[in-house]
């Protein structure tokens, strides 16, 4: 191919190449534009807009149908007529408008004059005052100038006002001339105004030409309708490692309707948030504009690009598969905090609702925390804020006086063998220590441990001597007096087996565990054996205690009783000791050391080492080990522990926090599977045999333990009342008041045994602070006397310290936000005729039928009224008399003033209020002067 001279290439070819390259250049630029413009989230917004349009169309249709078309037509016709009428005023209006126009010019001119004067006044004020201050010679001149200008300003202002008033008048006159039309229009607007607004709203989100332009590529920088929506929170931060930046959530870009009611039946992201009154709604406790979304759900709230980038987490593998298909989802990588799985959302409540044991409405979270408490997780693993809880296991200070060594060894070896419902977990016979070699070593450990603990134990002799007792009576007592508020007991009738109280141990086989003397002594006075126990006394008489002892001792565990624990193998013991000593010394030295010890010394030393190894003192009080640090790793911030720091051993599990915690709770020893660990390095956490649901709840509770920084303004700050109530609630929970009493809707497990007759069970405590007098409650807790003699269940006598009693009383007071003392002075004086009315009411309403104490000899069915005045607040008595069912729906007390109508229209003029107060006053008098009851005998 001949080329032109001076040319290395054929120009035609080069031009072709140029055209081609430019073409692909343009295509790539266009591709870049499209890639930037087409965003996945826009698709969702378009869909959301369509759904909103649909709904608006529906609402518009409904509104239109609700309007009376003929009425509207009539109005519109009227308006037409009125408009025609006002036509004749056109000339006048035109003239006035002309005048107004002229006036505008005048007003404008005077505004300028006034502005000039204003400026001069301001400037001269400064100048003059300054020259006065510096005592300059022109000060007086300036002051005079200022004065003059002030006058000009005043006159200009005044003139301007005059003209403005004139303008106003003219405007008013026009309005008056058109008044009929204006009024009619307003009337029409009142009728159709809503419809117009709805139509406007629908038009605003329609996909017409304007919206297409607004959203067009390149042009959408002005004012697009499809745009990123965000919530910038001022009280919540993202922790960018020593730098807190305000959190911003852009979830509402796709979740457009999350805060709008009416879309509950849609699929996400077009769905309304459930429970809008609590979460997300404008008037809820957690409006989205203040709290955002990621505070509760986690995830990358500031990212918008597509479904994947936000780090949505599927609930389970089924949803994961769905998402893989639908959204091309894969596990998020390099995201510090992916979203919580939907079922774990409640875990997020914990970081703001701190310092309380139960968070209102967070049922799953509360359940999880309750389980953590019940199983005693907090005692081996430190969790900040849980330090006040008691050790979950019984004290071993005086173990030698309770069970014998054989029992102890077999118990420690396999607790569930004796008590299938025990909370004590299993250390031995687990998946990582069941080889013959390890088992033999464990046997040696248990033997040594027993000897060691028994060597630390104090001597103990029970306070009582058991001789005989009636087991049948004992069974009756145990079923009815209230043991079931804390315990479940083997051998009771079915109807007394419904309540699931677990604060105290499951009572089965006690005949094979303790002596009858010990049992009787314990029942009569638990603190004699263990001064720190929460078990109260039921004020049992000697025969009651004997009967109950007889019943409990009848329950035996023959097989367990006959177990013979393998004896201590001295060689294995020595081997274990040498291994332990050789950690910091040579084997030879270690052996020497062991040789130098006597047999007893060796056993005790191994026992001590074993105690330290398994950390028994974390759950049980053991002499000399009170201050030992908790054996397990701290869980305060486990929800924020980096994934890289979790050890997965050889388990094939997804590397996620909740997966690890779940796996760990299912079997803590699993991480040793497939390893070659020596005996001393085996995992030690015991096995708790939890159900799947229990584990899920506990996982949720632990996920909530995060280290996120929340400023004080963002946290739930307790009011003064709430703080004091919370302090008091610690005592109330520790003593397990909730086991018997339903306090403001929470607790009352024992009532499950009283479904047939709730009134036979322990009383509900509803707003107790408004009910009983604080002083009375305080004294009552230390000196329990029966209030309802017609029920068999007993309020036990707790041995509370003074501080504890105060806290319990303040718990009820502050929970009910109640001032402590009512002023009852007025209620001790009678108005004329009131006392007789009260007596008449008492007799007519036949109060003595149930409240018979001191009046008739009938069996009482209600509490003794002679105690009521000291016990109950007068305001509450009156409220109770007026409407008992509103306080206790199951009460047998009749509602005499049902619906506010008085049952005795003759007395006190039929005034319900007066009648109720009269009765209240009478009850107070009965308390002050119990003999008054006599006059009711007739």
């Amino acid at each position: 191919m001949k080329l032109e001279p001076g040319m290395a290439y054929n120009t035609k070819v080069l031009n072709k190449v140029f055209a081609f390259l430019s073409a692909i250049f343009l295509i790539s630029v266009f591709w870049m534009l499209l890639d930037d413009y087409i965003r996945p989230w826009k698709v969702y917004q378009v869909e959301a807009t369509k759904i909103k349009q649909e709904r608006l169309a529906k609402v518009i249709e409904e509104t239109e149908q609700s309007l009376d078309a003929s009425e509207i037509k009539a109005l519109e016709d009227e308006i037409l007529v009125a408009e025609q009428e006002s036509q004749k005023h056109n000339e006048t209006i035109k003239k006035i408008e002309e005048e107004m126009h002229k006036l505008e010019g005048v007003i404008h001119a005077w505004s300028i004059k006034k502005g000039e004067a204003n400026a001069q006044v301001s400037a001269l004020t400064f100048k003059a005052e300054m020259s006065m201050e510096h005592k300059e010679h022109n000060a007086d001149k300036l002051m005079q100038q200022l004065k003059d200008w002030k006058v000009k300003f005043a006159s200009a202002s005044d003139t301007l006002k005059k003209y403005e008033l004139e303008q106003k008048e003219k405007k008013k006159s026009i309005v008056e001339l058109n008044s009929k039309v204006i009024d009619l229009r307003k009337e029409l607007d009142d009728k159709v105004g809503k419809l117009e607004l709805l139509k406007d709203a629908k038009a605003a989100i329609s996909f017409d030409g304007v919206s297409v332009l607004r959203n067009a590529p390149l042009l959408d920088y002005l004012d697009p309708t499809l745009r990123i929506e965000q919530v910038v929170m001022k009280n919540y931060y993202d922790d960018r490692y020593f730098q807190q930046t305000a959190r911003v959530d852009r979830c509402t870009t796709c979740h457009q309707m999350i805060a709008k009611p009416g879309f509950e039946d849609r699929e996400n992201p077009y769905k309304t948030h459930p429970n809008l009154e609590l979460m997300v709604g404008e008037n809820s406790k957690h409006p989205v504009k203040e709290f955002g979304c990621t505070n509760c759900h986690g995830g990358e709230g500031h990212r918008v690009h597509d479904f994947q980038s936000i780090a949505h987490t599927p609930q389970n593998s089924k949803q994961a598969a769905e998402w893989r298909e639908k959204y091309n989802w894969h596990e998020p990588h390099k995201v510090p905090a992916p979203m919580f799985r939907l079922q774990h959302t409640e875990a997020a409540c914990l970081k703001c609702h701190q310092g309380v044991e139960r968070i209102p409405m967070a049922d799953k979270l509360n359940e999880g925390r309750h389980l953590l408490e019940e199983n005693g997780c907090y005692s081996c693993h430190k969790i900040e804020g849980w330090e006040h809880l008691k050790k979950p296991g019984p004290s071993l200070y005086r173990l030698a006086g309770k069970v014998d060594k054989e029992f102890f060894k077999n118990w420690v070896w396999n607790p569930k063998q004796f008590n299938p419902k025990t909370k004590m977990p299993s250390f031995f016979n687990q998946s990582n220590n069941s080889t013959p070699e390890f088992k033999a070593k464990n046997i040696a450990e248990v033997n040594a441990l027993t000897d060691f603990i028994y060597s630390l134990s104090e001597e103990y002799t029970p306070n009582e001597k058991f001789t005989v007792g009636n087991a049948e009576t004992g069974k009756e007592l145990v079923s009815k007096i209230g043991c079931l508020g804390c315990h479940q007991i083997d051998g009771l009738d079915e109807n007394y087996n419904v309540a699931q109280n677990k604060r105290g141990p499951y009572l089965k086989g006690l005949g094979s565990k303790v002596s009858a003397h010990w049992m009787k002594s314990w029942l009569k006075n638990p603190t004699h054996y263990d001064p720190t126990t929460i078990m109260p006394s039921f004020r049992l008489t000697d025969s009651e205690a004997s009967d109950i002892t007889a019943f409990l001792m009848d329950s035996k565990q023959e097989r367990f009783q006959n177990l013979k624990f393998a004896p201590l193998d001295g060689d294995i013991r020595d081997e274990l000791l040498v291994e332990s000593f050789a950690a910091f010394d040579t084997l030879a030295h270690a052996r020497e050391k062991v040789e130098a010890m006597s047999q007893v010394e060796r056993t005790l030393e191994l026992g001590r080492i074993t105690l330290g190894k398994y950390g028994c003192y974390s759950c049980h009080s053991i002499k000399g080990f009170e201050d030992s640090p908790q054996i397990g790793p701290e869980l305060t911030n486990i929800g924020s522990k980096p994934i890289e720091q979790f050890g997965w051993g050889h388990q094939h599990l997804a590397h996620e926090r909740d997966v690890w915690i779940r796996a760990h709770l299912e079997n803590p020893r699993r991480w040793d599977e497939g390893t070659t660990k020596p005996f001393k390095d085996l995992s030690k956490m015991p096995y708790f045999d939890l159900t799947k649901n229990e584990i899920e709840s506990m996982v949720l509770a632990l996920l909530g333990q995060v280290s996120d920084y929340v400023p004080l303004e963002g946290m739930k700050r307790l009011s003064a009342d709430e703080k004091l109530a919370e302090k008091g609630s610690r005592v109330v929970r520790e003593k397990n008041c909730f086991g018997c009493h339903k306090i403001d809707g929470e607790g009352g497990e024992i009532l499950a045994n009283y479904q047939d007759d709730l009134n036979a069970g322990p009383p509900f405590l509803v707003q107790q602070g408004t009910r009983t007098k604080a002083r009375w409650l305080y004294d009552f807790l230390d000196n329990v006397v029966p209030i309802r003699s017609f029920v068999e269940i007993r309020m036990p006598s707790f041995h509370l310290t003074n501080e504890e009693r105060n806290l319990v009383v303040s718990y009820f007071q502050h929970k009910a936000e109640e001032i402590s003392f009512d002023d009852e002075r007025e209620l001790y004086t009678w108005n004329p005729g009131e006392r007789q009315a009260a007596i008449k009411l008492f007799k007519n309403l036949e109060c003595a039928t149930c409240h018979s104490h001191g009046i008739t000899s009938d069996t009482p069915m209600g509490p003794d009224l002679r105690l009521a005045g000291n016990r109950l607040k007068a305001t509450w008595i009156k409220r109770w008399i007026g409407n008992p069912i509103s306080i206790l729906p199951h009460t047998t007390m009749p509602s005499f003033w049902d619906g506010g109508e008085s049952p005795e229209p003759e007395i006190l003029g039929g005034d319900s209020e007066k009648q109720m107060w009269a009765l209240t006053k009478y009850v107070l008098e009965m308390t002050k002067n119990p003999s008054v009851a006599a006059e009711l005998r007739k």
Partner: protein, 167 residues
């Protein structure tokens, strides 16, 4: 040395590859510049909320309502049959004026600018009235204030129907 045999432009080939090439190149470069221009306008700004719902018109009494002043810097004023939203930024140097109900005026503490309840300036160094924000009723009949759109009296924008609600 070979000037004679220059490449000459043949009219027949006007829309030849060269012209096409250049126009495509120009279009692509222009496209890139347009994208750069578009890039300078962010899709979203990291700033606090500039709009809010303010309840129903019936929630407001006649006069100046200060309930949104701290959260959004807005006074809702109900005056002579209309409801409007005034910005609380003084038009002099940007301080926040106080509403003095006794004297029925806004008074800026910095340099003494005074405004009537309508927002019109009448004393002190303020050069122009307070600005109004867009205020409309949404489909539920609730007031919606949008601070990204302002209306200035001196430009005649107070006649714009988005700057007030008739009540």
């Amino acid at each position: 040395m070979a000037d004679e045999k220059r490449l000459s432009l043949n009219r027949r080939e006007f829309f030849g590859h060269l012209a096409v090439g250049w126009s495509l190149f120009a279009a692509a470069t222009g496209g890139l510049l347009a994208l750069v221009f578009r890039f300078t306008f962010p899709n979203v700004n990291f700033e606090p909320t500039m709009s809010f719902t303010a309840g129903l018109p019936s929630d407001y009494e006649k006069g100046v309502d200060e309930r949104w002043k701290n959260a959004y810097g807005v006074w809702i004023v109900k005056h002579e049959g209309i409801l409007f939203a005034l910005s609380n930024i003084c038009t002099h140097l940007g301080c926040v004026p106080n509403w003095l109900p006794g004297e029925q005026k806004f008074k800026c503490p910095c340099h003494g600018s005074g405004y009537y309840v309508t927002g019109v300036n009448y004393e002190g160094p303020a050069p122009r009235p307070l600005e109004r924000f867009k205020i409309v009723l949404n489909s539920e009949g609730k007031i919606f204030v949008d601070k990204t759109k302002i209306y200035r009296a001196e430009k005649g924008e107070w006649n714009n129907s988005d700057s007030f609600i008739t009540v």
